[in-house]
Amino acid sequence: MKSKVLLIDDDIELVGMFKEYLEQEGFDVKAVHDGEAGTIEASTGAYAIAILDVMMPRMNGLETLRRIRTNSQLPILMLTGRGDDTDRIVGLELGADDYVAKPCTPRELTARIRAILRRAHSVPADSGNASAIVVGQLTMWPEQRRATWAGGKLELTSTEFNLLEVLARNAGRPVSKNTLSEQGLGRPLARFDRNIDVHLSSLRHKLGTIADGRSCLQTVYRLGYQLIKE
């Protein structure tokens, strides 16, 4: 089955070329040229991933992202201007799964799409017995891509889910950012990459605190992050 990709970008010519390239790579691509149409398309639930340009006239990419996230956990890949760190961090905080700096080669774009899709659909081999991972108040069912905190359902984006799963499997031990990037994002850690930090910051807001009032996600200096095992 072909993965359906939603392309949201105002540059018609560029979108045309990306569409041609991705279709050749085996994706089913639908292109729209403004944020409003993109929001409507995304809410249909027919897509496996959306690619969203941040710089768009009228409704810009970040606003589009916020609207999509209100009712959908659809994996989203942002296209940001190179050097626009603010856009990038705001986008990740709003729940984008990853970003690609524009201008980018179509090959790089394809690789990122594949990485996100692989993570979203990955079924870990060692959890075939359908057992849940339980760490303190956190319970995760990776097969169902479902997680709860103290019985309440957690609304996690797919990247957040992947990162939390990696941490939960290694609960009580620090996990390096490199490992998190490779296992959670599906790519090696780049220099000056704030991606992991932003995702973990928003995870921290979604998860509760442990008995002594601290966050259950702790930064371990020079080692990475650790999910506290009580």
Binding site: E13, L14, M17, Q24, K102, P106
Partner: protein, 513 residues
């Protein structure tokens, strides 16, 4: 309190000191001169009268008659000195005074106040009246300045004790203060005879001396020093504070902080230092807007360059993926590179215009020819897009400027109108010479969607694109047009037409015939 403050402080203090020393010195010199004059011979008319009467007495009554008369007088007791240098009453006479009187004697004009008189025995006497004698009379009214005291002491120092009249005990040289402090009666008139003769007359000023003596020199001195320090401090602070504030402002500006700093500065308008602060604020505001503009432009440029680059990379990716479609991909790559070249060219034009390059070479432009040419080109371009261009009016005038730039400016406006016209729409190019005002007016009218009223000025800013514009163009055309028209001394403005569409009006000054 920086170094500047202390510099001001020390300078003002020194200036005050110099002024004090100068004025004090002048006063002291004047005083000294007055004192010197007071040792002089009295030349006033009363003195003359006294001399005359003394002369008559001596001449006809003899030395004893004069002696008797003088002893009975209170004021203006004429001195009578014989050739041996002895005064008739035994009063002390300094050599200097004698010399001075003799000098006056030789002086024809003043002969009458110093005279040589012979008594009946044939002895010659020199008659004169020292100024100190005149003072004697109102010693009581005069304050404690003690002007004449010194004369007396000097007198005695030089002359020693004249025979016959022992000097008063308390007037020993070198002890004037002690006598005064004792509250002893002291007559500065230098006339021991008077003291010996009558009851002490100067008692009433005696007690005042000791009360003032210990305080007088210090109180005013300390007060003056304190006042001087205080005023130096205040003045130095007054001058150095705004300069210090300015210095900090400059430091901050050098460090990149261009926020206004003197908006809230209190103080009257018109003070130079306050004006300086305001000028500084104006300067930083201008700098800030320039820097903001440049930053925005740079940001826009990088974004605008990014789009064709992204398309280039996508086209190259496609070429790699599908080598069989190489020709189509190459065409795309070519198109994008041409587009980028055009963008860079327009940016350079804009930058040159902003740098004021238009003044470099100027020529006479025949506007009729130029507009005909533009209209022809536009008509050709519009026809291929199912739109039309009509030209109205004639303008056979000359404008001074650069042909290529002015042509491009008008062309940009016309092309913009064609681009925004609906299919089958008509663009009107109206030309009208305003002979009275020596101006040429060009209207470019279209029936496109128009512009939101709030954006009517913004459309001339670089990279402005109305939200419904296609990807064609970079939003630089109208910005370039505005720069060119303004550099030619004209102006350009946009308004929405009644019934829909945009009207761009260009007004240019023409060369007078």
């Amino acid at each position: 309190m920086g170094r500047l403050f202390w510099k001001f402080f020390v300078c003002i203090l020194l200036a005050q000191l110099a002024a004090t020393v100068g004025i004090g010195g002048a006063v002291w010199l004047k005083n000294r001169n007055q004192q010197a004059e007071q040792t002089d011979i009295d030349t006033s008319p009363p003195a003359e009268m006294a001399i005359n009467s003394a002369a008559a007495t001596l001449e006809f009554g003899g030395a004893n008659a004069l002696k008797r008369m003088l002893e009975n007088m209170d004021r203006r007791r004429v001195y009578a000195v014989n050739d041996a240098g002895r005064e008739l009453l035994g009063r002390i006479v300094s050599d200097a005074m004698l010399r001075e009187s003799r000098a006056l004697l030789r002086d024809e004009e003043r002969r009458r106040v110093v005279r040589h008189v012979y008594d009946p025995q044939g002895n010659r006497y020199l008659l004169f009246l020292p100024s100190s004698e005149r003072m004697r009379g109102y010693d009581k009214e005069r304050s404690l300045l003690g002007i004449n005291d010194r004369d007396v002491h000097m007198f005695m120092n030089r002359e020693g004790m004249p025979g016959g009249q022992p000097p008063p005990r308390w007037e020993q040289p070198g002890q004037p203060n002690r006598t005064s402090a004792q509250g002893g009666q002291m007559n500065p008139g230098g006339a021991p005879g008077a003291e010996l003769r009558g009851p002490p007359g100067g008692d009433m000023r005696g007690p005042m001396g000791p009360r003032f003596q210990p305080l007088t020199p210090w109180v005013p001195l300390v007060a003056a020093v304190l006042a001087s320090l205080l005023f130096s401090f205040l003045l130095a602070w007054y001058f150095s504070r705004p300069i210090q504030a300015l210095r900090q402002a400059f430091d901050a500006a050098a460090g990149g902080d261009l926020s206004p700093r003197f908006v809230n500065a209190t103080g009257k308008r018109g003070t130079e230092l306050n004006d300086l602060g305001r000028d500084f604020d104006r300067m930083t505001a201008r700098l800030r807007s320039l820097i903001d503009g440049q930053t925005r432009l740079l940001h826009d440029v990088s974004h605008e360059l990014r789009s064709p680059l992204a398309r280039l990379q996508a086209a190259i990716g496609l070429a790699h993926q599908q080598p069989d479609k190489m020709a189509a991909s190459m065409e795309r790559v070519e198109r994008e590179s041409v587009r980028m070249d055009k963008l860079v060219g327009e940016l350079l034009t804009l930058a040159r215009l902003e740098a004021g390059a238009i003044k470099a070479s100027q020529e006479e432009i025949s506007m009729a020819d130029l507009i005909d040419q533009i209209a022809d080109d536009a008509r050709f371009e519009a026809t291929s897009q199912q739109r039309s261009v009509t030209q109205q009016g004639e303008a056979d005038v000359i404008v001074i400027g650069q042909t290529d730039l002015l042509g491009r400016a008008i062309e940009n406006v016309v092309r913009n109108a064609i681009k925004h016209s609906p299919e089958g729409g008509e663009v009107q190019l109206q030309v009208q010479a305003l002979p009275g005002a020596q101006r040429l007016s060009i209207h470019v009218l279209d029936r496109g969607p128009g512009v939101a009223p709030a954006d009517l000025d913004t459309i001339f800013q670089p990279f402005f694109r109305s939200s419904n514009a296609s990807t064609e163009g970079h939003g630089l055309g109208l910005a370039i047009a505005q720069h060119v028209i303004e550099a030619h001394g004209g102006f350009i403005r946009a308004s929405n037409r009644e019934g829909g569409g945009l009207c761009v009006e260009i007004t240019l000054p023409v060369k007078p015939f």
